[in-house]
Structure formats: C-alpha cells, structure tokens
Amino acid sequence: MTATATATATGWEAVIGLEVHAQLLTESKMFCACSSRYAGALPNTLVCPICLGMPGVLPVMNRAAIEATILTALALGCRIPEYSKFDRKNYNYPDLMKGYQISQFDLPFSEAGSLEFPDPADPSRTRRAGITRVHLEEDTATLKHVRDATGLAYSLMDANRSGVPLMEIVGDPDLSTADEAGAYLRALRQVLRYLGVSTANMEEGAFRCDANVSLRRPGTQALGRKVEVKNMNSFRSVVRALEFEIARQAEVLDAGGRIVQETRGWVDDRGITVSQRSKEEANDYRYFPEPDLPPVLTPPAEVDRIRARLPELPAAKRQRFESEYGLGADAAETLTQSRSLATWFEEVARLSGNPRAAANWVVRDVIRLLGATGGEIESLGIGPAHLAELVRLVDDGTISVRTAPEVLEEAVATGAMPASIVQARGLGQVSDATALAAEVAAAIAANPRAVADYRNGKATALGFLVGAIMKATRGKGNPGLVNDLLRSALDG
C-alpha cells in the first residue's frame, strides 16, 4: 500500500511507519501464572521464578494472550498463518530477566492487514494504512533511576511488569504526515479498546509507539535512509516529535547533507529528538527459534472460532448509526468513540423510541457532562433509562426543551429518575389554557408598546411578548400553547 503523495512545504515527502506495543489485558502473564495487573501493586510482589528468569525455569504459553493477538489481527484484516512459533531475541539489559526476550521473528501469528483512519487533511474522507504484522512477545521489568541524599545514583528494579503479554502491531510505511500518524494511532487505540484486549492507555505505558521516518522527493518510490524515533509518551508527543523530525531531516537534506541511519529519542521538554545510537551500534539480536516452546498451530477452524468473537468494529458501527438512525457523520463519529458509549446510546435510543433525540442528547449534553468528570460513560451517575425517560418527558410535552437540561444535570448529580425530579420540583410544563390565559392577558396589559408594534405589523414584537410570558411562568409555559393564546388574544 502506498501513501498518497503529500509534498511538504519544503518539497520533501515524509514516509512514516509506526510500531505500536500494546499490553494485553489478560489475567496472567505471558509465560507464567503471575497476575499481569500490576498497576498499584507493591514492587516485586507479582513475581515468580519464571518471570524473574531464575535458573532452570521454563515458559508456558498463555493461550488467552495468543487468542487476543489473533483477535486483534483479524480486526485489522490480517491473514493468520496456520504455523507460527516463538523466537528468542537476545540482548543484555538489567530489565531483561533472562538475557533474551521471547518474541516472534519470521513466523508471527499474523501478517498483511490494514487500518482505516479519518484523513486529517479532509475529515469527510478516510484513509487506509497497511499493517505488516501483529505479533506477541513479553514485556520487561521496569527500572527506576534514583539518587540518594549523598548524591549516589542507583537503580531500583521492579519485576512486576516482567513477562506481561505485549502485542506488537507493526505498520507499513504508509503515513506521510505527523497528523496522519496521530489519526492512525487514535484509530488503532479505538480498535484495541473495542476488542477489549488492551487499555491502550499511552500515559500508563500500556500503548507505546516508535516511529520510523524518512524523506523522499514527491513522486519517487525509493525510500530514504530512515531514522527510528523513540520515547514518545503521548499522542501529542508523537505528533510533535514527527513534525520536528520531518523538519530536521528536510533541513539536513536541503543543506546538502545525508541522513544518518540511527535511533533518536524524543526529548519532550526541549521539543527535539537527539541521537541515541547509530546503525553500527545497533544490537544484533541473534534471533533463533525458542527451543522451550513448541510451534503454535492455528488451524482454520480455530481462526473461525476466534473470528466469531469479533465485535462490531468502529467503522462498521459508524456506518450503521448513519443508515439505521439517520444520524449525521459527526454524530455517528462521536457516538462510536468508544464501544461502551455506543452501546449506551443504542440503549437510550431503544428505550426512548426516538434515536435522533437520543443522539442529540448524548452528543450535546452527555459528552459535556462526561467532560466535566473526565470519565467513561460508566462513570456517569445515570444509566440509559434515565436519559430515555427524559427524552420521553420532552416528547410527550411534560417538560419543555428548555427545562430538560436542568433535569438532566440534577439526575446526573443525584441519580434520581427525571420524572421524579420534575414532579418534586414542579417543573412540569403549564399546558393549562386557563392558567396561561391569565398570564397572556397580564402581559398584554403590561406591554402596550409591544402590542401596538405587533398590530402595526412588527412581527418580532410577538417574540418579546412570548418571552415576557415565559419569564412570568419561569419557563414552564408550553411555548406552543403560549403562542397560540397570544395570537388569538391580539388578532381577535
């Protein structure tokens, strides 16, 4: 798959490929029975001889992790080879317990898929980037570099993360701008969250991204010398780092220089990438088949069984929301942000019988209220039944659209059902013509100037009078009825 040529201002086209590591949300680690849910655990409490790499221990494969990897690969349209195996990637670092990482080299669990993402240059369109492969490996321990009061520097090791299943999603070099990289990552994160295979939380390290970047003249096919950029810890830093790196390489090339094939680290507070190691210093990982694990066979029937577990994915859900509920592209996009929000909306739509109103409420008010708490839909104080009841109260004229947001906010704050809030606070719409007729008469009497203007053909004067009546009824007057009563009083 080739990128649409996008010339940069400097006359260079960037070629970007992303490698994403996502921790899998399995109960246990990749090769032992220790819990993989290490967030908040005391250091080195979720460890055993296996994930500590002690002498003589052997790995045992976590089937759930393999299945999650294949599920992800299927969601990305990958081919699943029947025969796969694990390999050893050998290198020495104090956070690597065995002196090698069990990973996959030449026969991964999947290959040749793709990912659709919104085109940042034209939001009405989508783009598609190739996925080279999705494979499985194990995470390392974590090191914390500290300095004591006397200035002595040392490192603390926590092996809780050692052996946590880590899925690597290698993308083809199909991206050509930093913004495309951002859009690709958001789309990928959304897929992983839909599948429930990873929290895909970048700040917590559950979703990590490295980028390979090179430049070439637009219209040419050959790839330039690439630089690998690491240490990007947020979506924003990925975009910033890529923008910087593209500009840096363009500057080097424009000055007649050559790009050095190397690994560069993003330094967030300085906003630059710095050289970490050159190609010559790169590790020779001496991959070879892991002799402690037999090959993994995934026959077609097994692939079908896993495929049957695939949920509706974001792109399909967006399209269905547009066609089934008659929603606009923006609303469909917002409602499918997360699988739980989409499900929540569909429940409101079903219970209220008014999908478009339900969509409007969710897109406008619920998202705003969620934004205040910064949470997922589950953290909102109300369920779909609350909002559905609110929609019905508006639809059947019990409350006005103006009163409804107030009722929603109170429901969210207290968890009470909208009908009971309306009743308790007397917010029900006044639809009693006799009661409203008195208010209409009072408004006509109190505003002779407006009445005269109206009769002289100034239509806006009617709005002023309606406003006065609504104010007097504290918003509870049924707007339609007020209009009718006023017109007949004035015109009659």
Binding site: M54, P55, G56, N90, S155, D284, R286, P291, D292
Partner: protein, 502 residues
C-alpha cells in the same frame, strides 16, 4: 534374600525388597550411604554439597510411612538414597550447576523431577559434582573440584554427570539423577561401570533443571543394575504442565516388562559408530556384547547411519548457540556471584560473567554467539538444523528395520586426569557415539560390558525408538542378566586421599 553386611552394595530393587519386608530401615540404609560418603569422599569427591541432615529427616519420614500400613503400598522409592546432579534445583539447598557464578544460589523451588522424587519417598544424600553447566566429558570443568574415577582415581569419571556416576559406582547412593545433552549420562556410566539412560527428548520434565542446550537436554537415571534405572525413570517420567516440551505419551511400567527377554529382537549395528581411533579393547568388548545379544535370541543386522558422522559438527553449532542464550541470565543482578564493587551496572554484569564462568562456558558462549550472528545464522545454525533433520531421518529409516541399535558408548576407556583438558577437540570426541542420539531426540542406554586389559570399564550403548525406553530396559536387562559385570564393584574399601588433590 540375605541382608548383606554392607548395605551400600544393594541394588535399588534389592533395597526395596528389604525395606518392604522391614528387614532393614530407611534410616539404616541412608546412614550406610552417608557413612560410605564419609569414607570415600576424600578420594572420589562425588559431591559439591552433602545433605546428611536432609537425608536422615527424609529417611525418618520414610520409616514412618513404611511402618504406618502396608509397606508394599508405599511409593517405590521410599527410603532409597539418591544423589542429584547439582543442576537440579532443590528448594532450600544450594544449586550451582558446577559453576562459581551460581555459588551460594539457593533456589526457592524444586525441579519437577526433584518434586516427583520427594513424593516418591526418596532420600537426597547430596548434590553431585559436574562439569560447569554440563559442558564437558570429564567433570574436570567443574568450578569446584575434580571428581575421580572409583576404578582408578588417577582417571576421570567421565562427564558431565561425573559425580552422579561415581556416587552410584562407589556406593554413596543407590540411585542418582543426571542430565545428558550429548552423552553426559551414558559416557560417565560407561567409564564407571554403571547403568545410565538418556530418555527420549520430552519424556522427562526439564523444569527446574539448569539449562545447557534446551533442545538436547534430558534428565535420566544412573544405577547399579538395569532395574534401578527403570524404577527411577518410572518415578520421574511423564507430562509436566510446567514444561511445554514434555510429551503426553503415557509412561509404561518399565519394570513389569524388563524380564520379557529379547528372543527375536532385531538389533542393528551401524558400522559408522565403530570409529577410527577407537581403542581395540573397547571394540572387542562391544562386539562381544553384541554376540551375547545374538546368543540370547536377538537377530543382529547391519544398519547404516551415514549422517551420524556429522553429529558432532551439528551438535557443536546447536548446543553452543542455545547455551549462549541460556547463560545470558547469569549476570549477578538477582542471584549468585555479583561483582558488587563495580558501580556501573553494565560493567558489573560483564565483570560478574568474566569472573564467574570458567573457560569452557566462555568458549561455548563465544562459539554460540558467533553461530547465531547476523550474516552467519544461515551458514551455521540453520544448516545445522537441516543436518539434524537428516540425522533423524537416518534413524527413522534404520528403525523401520530394527528394534534397537547397538554401538559403543565411548571410543575409549576413562582417560587420565589432565590428558584432554587442554585439547577441547579431543575432549569433544569422547561423545562421538552418543551425540547423534541427542541430536535425533532418541533414548539411549549405557550398560556395562566388561573391562579392558587395564581393568577399566567399557559400556555398550543401546539406542531405541522414540518413547520406547521399555525395549531398551528389556534388552539391557537380558544382557546384564547373562553377565556378571554389575556384581564387580570398584576396589575402594579403604581409599586414601590421592596426592595432588585440587
């Protein structure tokens, strides 16, 4: 049967009979082994660690079990003194793999085979000496001390499971456990005149066994008399959820069929295994043993195993490649030796390894690292795996015609200490007849077949089909039953410490 004056001369089935009859106690039996250890260790030095207290506590528990009900219903190894090669992780007892880099390492876990032997009621008398990380054929590569051959203490016991072989040969234990990656059970068994079996790859769990070459390592028994090895294998074999390379194939009752005889058994003899440079006495004794098999009713047929000639070359790519990776974890950051005075962690790891590993592991780490390097992988590692397939195919073809293949174990008898230590290639040739069996993943047994002109032991190797250890035990037992080799014990009654002990 008569209770011998010296309990250390008992075979495992004899000891079992006396224990079940309550004619002897487990404590007496274990104490006899410990006394023998005290007597001969100065001369032999089979052990890195002697665990007398543990053994006696286990013996007391064994006696309690034997006395609690029907003694015959106790596990078969109840109260039998066993020596463990010092690469089996033993909870609470130092495990060194013969290396200084693991000095002081006390595992918090048992190897699966150790756990199974505990359950089977065995008493553990000590951790046996070995070549460092099982790399060697003489036990001279131990990071701790030499082990001497009980038949001639100026000679090596073979290796790498040298201490396991000598412990059984010298009566320091009734049974012992070793590992065999290229001959490390069969070769010392031959050089010490005891039975040793390397099971089929996948027959016995490797969990908790310090790894040398993962695709070749197998755990196996040593015994005086074939039946003891059958009893020990039965206790440790079988699928282990902690070792993904163990087979789910059921474990047969090896002892039940051991006396079934070998009438009609087809025994293949590969000319390729009677190698140039083989000692004439060795060849003569092995050929005589094959003639004995014929007299016992076996049919002797020539077989061809031409690719076995490449076994050694194949092995010395694959084994060092795997070892270079397996030994990466020993860097002093979590256990064992640590260069703690070095402040920089990378330098501390390097220094730990420079100090902790002996010459042979260093040599093999370099060989293996080279063989796996980018640009060399195809020429070495991949090519070796392809040859490995051909070696296996040779055996597959031969086993379509025969049930067992007979050959020498080692081309020579035990060699003098120091004779090959400076010539790694000469040392590697010790395993020329045993290595192809590991490369093919097949079972092989070494059974004593006589003594050369100097009175040094020679072993016969019988190689079987995958997971057909039962036939090997049956053939080896039939041969042993027709000879008196196991009844000849080394002349060690009152051994003195030899001069020049390192």
């Amino acid at each position: 049967m008569v209770i011998p004056h010296d309990l250390t001369t008992l075979t495992a089935p004899e000891a079992r009979t006396l224990l079940v009859r309550r004619a002897i106690s487990a404590t007496e039996l274990t104490q006899a082994a410990l006394d023998r250890i005290a007597q001969v260790e100065p001369a032999i030095r089979s052990f890195i660690t002697i665990t007398a207290d543990q053994a006696l506590a286990q013996a007391a528990a064994a006696d309690a079990a034997l006395g609690a009900g029907d003694p015959a219903s106790t596990p078969e190894l109840t109260g039998i003194p066993i020596a463990l090669k010092d690469l089996f992780c033993t909870a609470g007892v130092q495990t060194t793999a013969g290396s200084r880099i693991l000095e002081g390492f006390v595992p918090p876990y048992d190897a699966t085979v150790v756990a199974r032997l505990r359950k089977a009621g065995a008493t553990f008398v000590g951790k046996a000496n070995m070549d460092e990380f099982a790399m060697g054929s003489s036990t001279e590569n131990s990071g701790y001390h030499l082990t001497r051959n009980p038949w001639d203490t100026a000679r090596v016991p073979g290796g790498s499971s040298g201490g396991s072989a000598t412990a059984v040969a010298a009566g320091e234990a009734i049974l012992s456990l070793g590992t065999d990656t290229g001959g490390s059970i069969r070769q010392p068994a031959a050089l010490c005149s005891v039975t040793g079996l390397k099971p089929t790859y996948g027959r016995v769990s490797r969990y908790g066994v310090v790894a040398f070459a993962s695709s070749l390592d197998q755990v196996g028994p040593f015994s005086v008399g074939v039946e003891g090895s059958a009893m020990l294998l039965r206790a440790i074999a079988g699928h282990d959820p902690l070792d993904a390379t163990t087979a789910t194939t059921g474990v047969p009752d090896y002892v039940a069929t051991i006396r079934d005889g070998i009438r009609g058994l087809r025994v293949g003899v590969p000319a390729e295994y009677f190698v140039a440079g083989m000692e004439p006495d060795v060849e003569r004794l092995v050929r005589a043993a094959i003639d004995d098999l014929a007299r016992l009713g076996a049919e002797i047929v020539p077989v061809r195993l031409p690719y076995s000639a490449h076994g050694l070359a194949t092995y010395y790519i694959i084994a060092p490649a795997e070892a270079s990776s397996n030994l990466s974890r020993y860097n002093g950051t979590r256990y064992g030796l640590a260069a703690v005075e070095e402040a920089d962690v990378n330098r501390a790891m390097d220094l730990t390894r420079a100090r902790g590993f002996g010459a042979e592991p260093k040599r093999r780490i370099m060989l293996g690292t080279y063989a796996l390097s980018s640009g060399y992988y195809d020429a070495y590692y991949r090519k070796a795996q392809q040859v490995r397939t051909l070696i296996k195919a040779d055996f597959d073809a031969a086993f379509r015609d025969v049930d067992v293949i007979a050959s020498p174990v080692s081309p020579t008898v035990a060699f003098p200490i120091g004779a090959r230590i400076d010539d790694p290639l000469a040392m590697y040739l010790s395993d020329v007849c045993t290595i192809p069996v590991n490369v093919a993943g097949l079972p092989g047994i070494s059974v004593p077949c006589g003594f050369d002109g100097q009175g040094l032991p020679v072993g016969l190797q019988l190689i079987g089909r995958a997971f057909d250890e039962a036939t090997l035990f049956r053939a080896a037992w039939a041969y042993e039953d027709a000879t008196d080799w196991p009844r000849r014990r080394p002349p060690l009654a009152t051994a003195a410490t030899p001069a020049g002990e390192s």
